[in-house]
Symmetry: C2
Subunit: 383 residues, 2 copies
């Protein structure tokens, strides 16, 4: 299948490109290096250097003789969008091309504006391009479990049947996100749902939880193929952040009471979920929404698990609650459903100390490169 | 009170400026003439010419000795936003500054992109400006009843208490709009709700139905003070459009089955509602949502009422169903609540043939200026 990956340089975009290329798909990726540029500007570089997209594609070609087509360009620019859709005529589009950091989106007005414009414009351009150039293509969009927030009722997969004054209606599950970044994903969902109804597009919207991990089957071929690994307060997700803190001898920074519970998944399960979505496309006129995570943990549970894994490697770690820089409930009900992917055949890789130790061993090789100053500078606050 | 009206040149913005100036408020308005420019570009000019904002303000000054401050500028541009907020230090901001046409928003990619960018960016800039320059100010935002669409259950005022699997949560009433324009208003609501929660802003979001009418107490002073009056398929609302069609001897173009039911209000009630909102501000951290209309009608009912009014003036009118250029339900349940404004003291001006005949008499004076070609050109289709 001809697959176009938008945001193909990212933490998930690049491993997805490798995975689908390995499966025999014709893969093209587009990226404007926004994530790399923002990390450099904010001085929160990833743990290790990563070759650029052309270099990575060349490395992949050397090992597998498979070609991944690369376009460097800004998908907010319609000329770029038109060029890549005309050239590749994709049958499936996987849209990761968003500013992905919640703390960055709350940093200041400039960062908020960038996040809002980038995420909404790329999604809109993608919708317009599908309509114009490949109306039968399947659009797989990365949303986030954070769109739902932490409501006091069970979280269903995207939709909710509501009974009210004796009548019934099925609605998009009401959303209430906790950052501007997450709110842009809610707005994306509004746009997608409108155009699915109006133009009969085929869309899968994946409500993904925070992802952890460093390795996929394809990156094991060559460490140069590994994705970015951020551990700072802005671009690092919590498990990756804790693992680096443990190795650096920095206390694990639990925000507030640490009862914040979320649904997590291993990066290899992101690839499985995207592949399952691609192999089981949405129908025409369907906005299919699936909750993409495998298990839930509170921040305290994660900190304890990282502490235990570190201890197994002979590293003693402290857990230190810090004033929460975010506006969020620190203790709450959380019961999100996630059966859709299991029904499609997902075989989860669950979190345990073995998984954590394997990542931590690689982090240990980069111990000298860790910049402790960026772990918790309190810049990323939205209270 | 120092009141800043964003989009103060528009069909509702200008009469609001006059009304609040008359009440003794210090009124400043900002506009970039987007609506005028789009109407000129699309060749769908209003029924009669309207002086520019500076000219209108001078006419108002002549009659009342009251000053309305004018700034011409694009509120997507932060420099403009910063200048007006710094200069006027508003205590209340009334935000009408959006591309207001649903059909225009569906015209083509360029129009869609303009609508999306303009509406979201102005709302975001307004939020950022309130936070930065006047965090205690009350922001009154014009939303639309169209945000809700036509669900099969009663429409509450903005919020819905949901019971699910034995637990309860209050949510934003789930929205499903029928055009991109209406969807941008849904996205605005998402943004406002996020920042109200996060920053404790005071926001009133008015879910307004289609407005009709030409006169307010203030415009009666001088016909030069009347608002735009569009009657084309893009920028004209349905009642205003039917009235001109009747005068022009054009059949009333009912889209499809004509069972589309909406909540309507007279322009004088828009002014009352905005004034009531201003005099009864939202609390800090409150997103207060009120449904702003006074009565519901189906398109068929409106066509019949216009036909009867025309007949009273000796004009015989035909009603002609045409293929619906819009994607919408033509027969549906519709039971939206609207008690909040009544509780605040709204005294509605209801629709009857007298009201319609009065407007029609003015249209008769402009009979020769009506351009029949723009009444129903079928350009504005989104099927």
């Amino acid at each position: 299948m001809r697959v176009l990956i938008l945001g193909g340089d990212g933490y998930l975009g690049w491993p997805t490109a490798l995975h689908l290329s390995k499966q025999g798909h014709d893969v093209a990726v587009v990226d404007n290096y926004l994530r790399r540029n923002l990390c450099r500007e904010e001085n929160v570089e990833a743990l290790y250097k990563t070759p650029n997209l052309h270099e990575r594609a060349a490395i992949w070609k050397t090992h597998t003789d498979k070609t991944i087509d690369i376009t460097i360009g800004d998908l907010c620019d319609w000329d770029v969008v038109e060029d890549v859709f005309r050239e590749y005529q994709p049958e499936c589009i996987i849209h990761y091309a968003e500013q992905p950091s919640a703390p960055y989106s709350m940093l200041n007005r400039k960062a908020s504006t960038l996040t809002l414009k980038n995420n909404i414009e790329v999604t809109a351009n993608t919708i317009f391009a599908v309509k114009e150039f490949c109306p039968d293509a399947h659009l797989i969009k990365l949303g986030t479990m954070g769109e739902y927030g932490t409501p006091n009722i069970d979280i269903e997969e995207g939709w909710l049947d509501i009974q009210h004054n004796g009548r019934k209606q099925k609605f998009l599950y009401p959303r209430a996100a906790g950052s501007l970044y997450h709110t842009t994903k809610v707005m994306d969902t509004d746009l997608l749902w409108f155009y699915v109804r109006t133009w009969g597009l085929k869309v899968t919207d994946l409500m993904q939880g925070p992802v952890y991990g460093m390795f996929t089957n394809e990156t094991l071929i060559d460490t140069q193929l590994q994705p970015f690994f951020n551990y700072d307060e802005m671009f690092g997700t919590v498990i990756n952040r804790f693992l680096v803190q443990a190795v650096a001898g920095y206390p694990l920074t639990v925000y507030g009471k640490g009862g914040q519970t979320r649904g997590y998944l291993n990066i290899v399960d992101t690839l499985q979920c995207v592949q399952l979505s691609l192999e089981n496309p949405a129908d025409s006129g369907e906005l299919r929404i699936m909750n993409q995570f495998t298990e839930t943990f509170s921040v305290n549970e994660l900190a304890e698990m990282v502490k235990k894994s570190a201890s197994n490697l002979g590293i003693e770690v402290k857990i230190k609650p810090v004033k929460n820089p975010r506006k969020e409930l620190e203790e709450h009900y959380y019961n999100p459903k996630h059966s859709a992917f299991n029904e499609l055949g997902l075989r989860p890789t669950l979190l345990d100390t073995n998984v954590l130790e394997k990542i931590m061993k690689t982090i240990l090789c980069h111990r000298e490169e860790i910049n402790k100053d960026i772990i918790f500078s309190k810049r990323a606050s939205w209270c």
